[in-house]
Subunit: 213 residues, 2 copies
């Protein structure tokens, strides 16, 4: 895929799904090859869509054999930019912010948290995932010095919009928002809302509607 | 909405978005009324869609005044089943599982974690969010005794499918899967995949494509 083209969010999400499934299969069964039928069946995607998506990132399979597993994983990582370090700061050192700082599951994707901030004096100077929690006032300086472009937002809902604008002024270009609040992105900043409660809502609704409840 | 109808996942997601935005506005500014234009503008949804969605859950606004904020919040909570306690067990007492157990942000949605399990002997009998971590062998008994129908899955990718099937045999009907692995849902079980790395992938890709990076 050449650099003038941009992948659509839905394609990015499908590629991540394929990757999850193929990596797990590769890790558990050391499967060297994998078919589009199999990928399709485990990821709830149409088989022809799987082939089209992989072809869009220049991965081609062999008839009756399928795709080479390591090649598919490498191509997806390369296309999505997982090979590069993704430096990030976390704002909000509560339970969720601390867990994200400690979570090892993001290392595959190149995420490296370089600083963590909080407004609460009792959290400042505590240690989370080998990082000393810094006061929010240091935000601008740390972002300026490290050149980090990504922030993970886990503050309280009433503080989220204000902090997002402070982050933007400090030079942040992409915000991963875990705060259950909607607000407009500051100019020039990409916000990816990650509202966990949406998943919870779908579960609650499923159980409410399930016949034996 | 009568009980024969079922809300589509996309509608559920939009209702949760509206709710996030309206709750935040209500909390910060005590806004008693809110217009569909305002909801639309902050939630990236078409104005006519907002009106249609709220009308689908029997909320109606007044011309030039808008919707009564508490009424909208109440209707969404009621429709999605947030008024009822949603009992859940967590399987996997790592960083993410522990954070989810402690996270207060889910209380609005009725989530109450009643037990947490892990396979690692060194985690068993430690205390997380006032719950003693139990060995995985107790899964069936605890689920049977409490009648809980929901499980939150935060184990390692290679264990996820096996644990999902154990949960199903024990009587779990809905699984909220945080494990970055795809697997087929056991018969009769609803799985909501919550793959955080998808959000991360979108951020990484945005930064890779951003002009000044």
């Amino acid at each position: 895929m050449n650099h003038e083209e941009t992948l659509k969010p839905a394609l990015i999400r499908r590629l991540v799904r394929y990757c999850h499934y193929i990596q797990a299969r590769h890790a558990i069964e050391c499967a060297r090859t994998i078919s589009s039928v199999e990928i399709a069946s485990y990821t709830d995607v149409d088989e022809s869509q799987v082939r089209k998506d992989l072809s869009a990132i220049k991965v081609s399979g062999t008839p009756r054999i399928g795709y080479q597993t390591p090649e598919v994983i490498h191509a997806i990582h390369h296309e999505l930019g997982f090979e590069h370090d993704l430096l990030a700061v976390i704002v909000g050192a509560g339970h969720l912010g601390s867990a994200l700082a400690r979570y090892r599951g993001f290392e595959h994707y190149g995420l490296r948290v370089v600083a963590i901030f909080d407004t609460a004096p009792e959290k400042v100077n505590t240690v989370v995932a080998e990082l000393v929690v810094e006061p929010i006032e240091r935000l601008g300086r740390v972002i300026g010095e490290t050149g980090v472009k990504t922030a993970i937002l886990t503050v309280s809902p009433d503080a989220a919009e204000d902090i997002a604008h402070r982050l933007a002024r400090a030079g942040i270009k992409a915000i991963w928002n875990f705060v259950p609040a909607r607000f407009k992105a500051p100019d020039g900043v990409f916000i990816r809302h990650q509202h966990l409660s949406t998943g919870l809502a779908e579960l609650a609704y499923f159980l409410k509607k399930a016949p034996d409840n």
